[in-house]
């Protein structure tokens, strides 16, 4: 007998299923934030590479940061990466289910701790990188 007769039926789902509802679109945007995350990491890698190529190569690269296209790309990337940060921290209470005695630690407190940590980390990074 052919295997086809025995296999279960899968209802065909169109590849555009995620355009049907707003939560699906937001889910897809969240997933696509990873492209901008990786893109910025490659940018950082190029920056370090330019650092190995000497003061001129590095200087030219840093000067290009002032170009409108660089600023625009940074702003778009920032929007997507911020969406990653927000959705990521909002999911932490779902993964970190903490109890104090019998009571569950409120979800807002768990997520809030990560947001507070984010602010502290951001200040430290800015202080170290910019040296101000």
């Amino acid at each position: 007998m052919g295997e086809k007769e025995m296999s279960t039926y899968h209802r065909p789902i169109p590849n555009t299923w995620w355009l049907k509802r707003k939560p699906y679109i937001l889910f897809m945007i969240r997933e696509l934030t990873s492209v901008f995350v990786a893109g910025y990491c490659i940018f950082l890698l190029v920056l370090v590479y330019k650092l190995t190529q000497g003061a001129n190569a590095y200087g030219n690269f840093m000067a290009a940061l002032k170009s409108p296209s660089s600023v625009a790309l940074h702003l778009i990337t920032l929007a997507f990466v911020l969406y990653h940060t927000i959705t990521w921290f909002n999911l932490t209470p779902k993964i970190l289910v903490l109890y104090r005695g019998e009571d569950r630690v409120p979800q807002g407190l768990v997520a809030g701790t990560f947001y507070a940590g984010w602010v502290v980390v951001s200040v430290i990074v800015a202080w170290l990188v910019l040296g101000v």
Binding site: E31, S34, C41, V48, H74, F89, L130, G131
Partner: protein, 117 residues
């Protein structure tokens, strides 16, 4: 239960996602807004200062290496499932190889770049 590499990829996805969430926004603000518009003093990312910081300090180098490479695995794991979700399930093995392979390649390139600094 069948043996699976899934926990490894998920751990890297998770660690990379946390690193990205914590440090990338401020870095983007620095390289995209503060530095180009001169809002953070006179050329704080000048060659001398950054080159010295990265080449003379192993911990700076290690942190920068982690910040660059871990999020690549976050991307690989997430993007892999995104492509499957939009209908590329029939080539899911190829997608896995390309995504995780891409992250591994990025890590190897990073090792070479950091080695030469």
């Amino acid at each position: 239960m069948a043996k699976s590499n899934e926990p490894i990829w998920w751990s890297l996805f998770s660690a990379g996602g946390m690193v990205a969430a914590m440090v990338l926004p401020i870095l983007i603000v620095i390289t995209g807004i503060l530095v180009p518009f001169g809002l953070a003093g006179d050329d704080p990312l000048n060659f001398e200062r950054i080159h010295t910081a990265v080449s003379q300090n192993d911990s700076v180098e290690l942190i920068l290496f982690i910040v660059i490479t871990l999020p690549l695995f976050h991307w690989a794991h997430r993007f892999r499932f995104t492509l499957v979700d939009v209908g590329l399930k029939s080539v899911s093995t190829l997608i896995s190889i390309l995504c995780y392979g891409g992250a591994i390649t990025g890590t190897i390139v990073s090792i070479v770049v950091f080695w030469n600094i």
